[in-house]
Amino acid sequence: MSHLSSPQRPQLPRRAEVAEASRVLVLLAHPALHRSRVNRRLAAAAARVPGVTVHDLYEAYPNHDIDVSHEQRLLSHHPVVVMQHPFYWYSAPSLVKEWLDLVLEFNWAYGPKGHALRGKTLLSAISAGGDEAAYTPEGRNRFTVRQLLAPMEQTAHLCGMSWLPPFVLHGAYQLGEEGLEAGAARYAQVLAELVAGRVDPAAVAHLPRINENFGWLEGS
């Protein structure tokens, strides 16, 4: 609502706008960021990568009143979309669901005339409490993260987007300072590669996670 702007003055509203040079849109969804250990670190690391726009959904829409056209403008501009959130009940905080329901409109994202997202890339970036072993057929969660993300993968497919294997930070509760630091650095690295357009979805499609197996890129 402000007309005079001064850089050091606090501003309302605080939401990401379309930035010309931005290639990767990180949709951050954490309902209590002040309590978060992992997502806050990841988001901060992401914000420092040139060409990445971090869009904090709970900051932009505290009342879940999603501005659909604004979201669609942001999506249209970015070739790569990253959905970053904790893996609440094997999916996401509720605002992500609301966002999917309202933003991915019929005949915009899907349907006979819905081509807006065609050819773009979708990545899920997830923090999970359980360790890797828990997300195996033998583990207590019985399914792998990739299997549990099937709805998201199918959403990408219906919208004509390429689906990348997820970026997953396991053992979020146990991660120490070192682990957090390493995870954030790896996340930034993945995002930088995405900005540069050096990730070929077909080449990584078989991987269970994009991060642990990121070594294949490091040499290039």
Binding site: M1, S2, H3, L4, S6, Q8, R9, P10, Q11, L12, N63, D65, I66, D67, V68, S69, D101, L102, V103, L104, E105, F106, N107, G111, P112
Partner: protein
């Protein structure tokens, strides 16, 4: 005067007022000066349209002052009056005594006998209740420190007239002219002994207070039951007439009596009814009174000795102002308030007309003293609105920024990152909410009563006017991050916002607005947030109304939030379109136009609230088509 004359005169008076008052208001000089000029124009030295110089009319119109004091009384609860007892007796008493003494000494030095000097001094010590209160009211200054103190002094002067009337005959050195009763005429108490007199006066006061308490409410209830509005007006006027007659009979000032009656009725449930019934009469009669003062200015006398009259006028005004300034400082008044107070009371009052004629009649003053004095009085009343306008535009703004508060403002920088200006029903909620979330605020308010109440509940609120730069600085504005302007007066809000924007550009500002127009002004100035004070409550009422009408809660809630977004966006847009008319005063018509525009925008809102994702209609239709 036959009926025809009466109507012609009425047209003259009203017509002159209708032309001059809007003109004076337009020039920012206030209505009083407009009336006075209207009087001069139709008076014997203008176009000479009213034969007798308005003397009769003035007599009738003095009743406007009586009505005004009744209304003032209605707004003053006894408790408040009691709180003002210090200023009334101290400030008022000293003002009359010191001014009278100084004027008397000068008069004696100029060669008047001491009795005449004293009489002149006492009369000239009076200020004009009509001009001072009308002007202060018009400028919304009645509740300010200067307003309260002016009122206290005027009240004392009203009371002081009574002993003056009693003392004057003792000062008589000349043979009383005939009709020596003057303004005292009609009073039967003169022939009573002192103790009897006192008893009668006391009885009359008890009568007014007791009657107001016991008789008036049931009477009003009966009148109210008729359901006829004019009966109420009749009752209200009859009440004031009755008190006036009673007071005149016992030799008290009718203004004082009706004031007392007003105070007694201030707590009654008919207060507002009485107020709205009397108010138009007061306004018109006061206007007539000012016109007749203008018409009565004896320019012939002025023309004979312009130097003498002018020097007396300047001298008297100067003495009055200096005494008032001295007293205001003595009573710890802020510099800007002192200026308002001193100039508001700097004129000679309407009582002087009465007192001079009484003094002349009872042989205290010879005609060659009294008549020029009456001219000085009228000129002084005429000059007063000009002085007030000058004071308000030139002197007060200069004093304000560097002024020291009357109660030395105790603002401290508490190191909080939020400053809340105005700790009334709006600011309190903001500040409590912020504190509950771990953000202490520095709180400012100008209402010392409010501050005391808050202190009892453990909240520390500093006394101070946030529209002063030094005060904002003292509160830590240079280091704070956020200023919440929660003051209720829209003009004040804008003043504070401007100040913050100019001197503390790093400070985010959230501002309270009364209505759409004020909100648009604030949007134009550019603040981080504008909050119309009743908008949220109205919208929540609307949501519950929808729910009671059977609309699902989630739909109602979302609809309200959409409505709010649209309304706020429309407001920002309208503010930008309003452009160069920014400074124009918002009229009722303009408000209506804006409402219309808002309603139009509601009708045109064909979007789907951005929730088509919840609506399967399109998908269903598409799937049927495919089949």
């Amino acid at each position: 005067m036959n009926t025809q004359d009466f109507f012609v005169n009425a047209i003259l008076y009203l017509g002159a007022a209708l032309i001059m008052v809007p003109l004076a208001k337009r020039l920012g000089l206030g209505s009083v000066l407009g009336y006075l000029i209207a009087g001069v124009v139709i008076g014997p030295y203008g176009f000479d349209l009213v034969g007798d110089g308005g003397g009769d009319v003035m007599h009738a119109a003095e009743f406007g002052v009586v009505l005004m004091l009744f209304l003032v009384g209605l707004e003053l609860e006894p408790a408040l009056l009691w709180r003002l007892r210090g200023p009334i007796l101290g400030l008022g008493g000293l003002q009359v005594l010191v001014t009278a003494a100084v004027v008397a000494l000068v008069a004696i030095a100029l060669g008047l006998p001491w009795q005449q000097g004293l009489a002149v001094g006492l009369v000239l010590a009076m200020s004009s209740t009509a001009i001072a209160l009308q002007t202060l009211n018009e400028k919304g200054l009645m509740k300010s420190d200067a307003g309260q103190k002016s009122f206290a002094v005027l009240l004392f002067q009203d009371v002081a007239v009574i002993p003056m009337l009693a003392v004057f005959p003792l000062l008589a050195t000349l043979t009383p002219a005939d009709g020596g009763e003057g303004a005292h005429g009609g009073s039967f108490v003169e022939h009573l002994a002192g103790w009897q007199h006192a008893l009668v006066v006391l009885g009359a006061i008890v009568g007014v207070v007791g009657g107001g308490r016991l008789l008036v409410p049931p009477l009003m209830r009966r009148v109210a039951r008729t359901g006829l509005r004019e009966m109420f007006t009749a009752a209200a006027l009859a009440l004031v007439f009755a008190v006036t007659v009673l007071m005149s009979m016992v030799g008290l000032s009718p203004a004082l009596g009706t004031f007392l009656a007003g105070v007694v009725l201030a707590n009654s449930e008919y207060r507002h009814e009485l107020e709205s019934d009397i108010d138009p009469f007061k306004g018109l009669l006061l206007g007539l009174f000012f016109i007749s003062v203008g018409a009565s200015i004896n320019f012939g006398l002025v023309a004979e000795a312009p130097g003498r009259i002018l020097s007396v006028l300047v001298g008297v005004t100067l003495v009055k102002v200096l005494v008032l300034v001295g007293l205001a400082r003595l009573f710890k008044t802020a510099a800007d308030q002192t200026a308002v107070f001193a100039v508001a009371l700097s004129q000679v009052g309407e009582f002087a007309f009465v007192l001079f004629s009484f003094a002349q009649a009872s042989g205290v003053l010879p005609g060659e003293v009294a008549e020029p004095m009456v001219a000085v009085t009228a000129l002084s009343m005429a000059a007063s609105p000009l002085l007030l306008a000058l004071n308000e535009r030139v002197i007060v703004p200069r004093l304000r920024p560097s002024a020291r508060a009357d109660r030395p403002s105790d603002v401290e920088d508490e190191g909080a990152s939020v400053i809340v200006a105005g700790y009334g029903r709006f600011g309190q909620i903001c500040a409590r909410f912020l504190r509950a979330n771990g953000f202490p605020c520095t709180l400012l308010d100008v209402d010392s009563e409010q501050i005391e109440v808050m202190a009892r509940f453990g909240a520390r609120v500093f006394f101070g006017d946030a529209s002063r730069l030094d005060l904002l600085r003292a509160a830590g504005a240079a280091k704070a991050r956020l200023l919440i302007v929660a003051v209720d007066d829209p003009a004040k809000v804008k003043e504070i916002v401007h100040l913050a924007r100019t001197h503390f550009p790093h400070l985010a500002v959230l501002a309270r607005a009364r209505g759409r127009g004020d909100a648009m002004d604030l949007v134009e100035i550019g603040v981080e947030g504008v909050y119309r004070e009743t908008f949220d409550a109205s919208l929540r009422t609307g949501v519950d109304a929808l729910r009671l009408l059977g609309v699902h809660a989630h739909r109602a809630e979302r609809s309200a939030r959409t409505f709010r977004r649209h309304d706020e966006a429309a407001m920002v847009e309208m503010a930008s379109r309003r452009g160069d008319q920014a400074s124009f005063v918002q009229s009722a018509r303009e408000r209506l136009r804006m409402l219309e525009e808002a309603l139009q925008a509601d009708l045109g809102r064909a979007d789907r609230f951005g929730e088509s994702g919840w609506d399967s209609e399109d998908v269903r239709r598409a799937s049927t088509e495919r089949r």
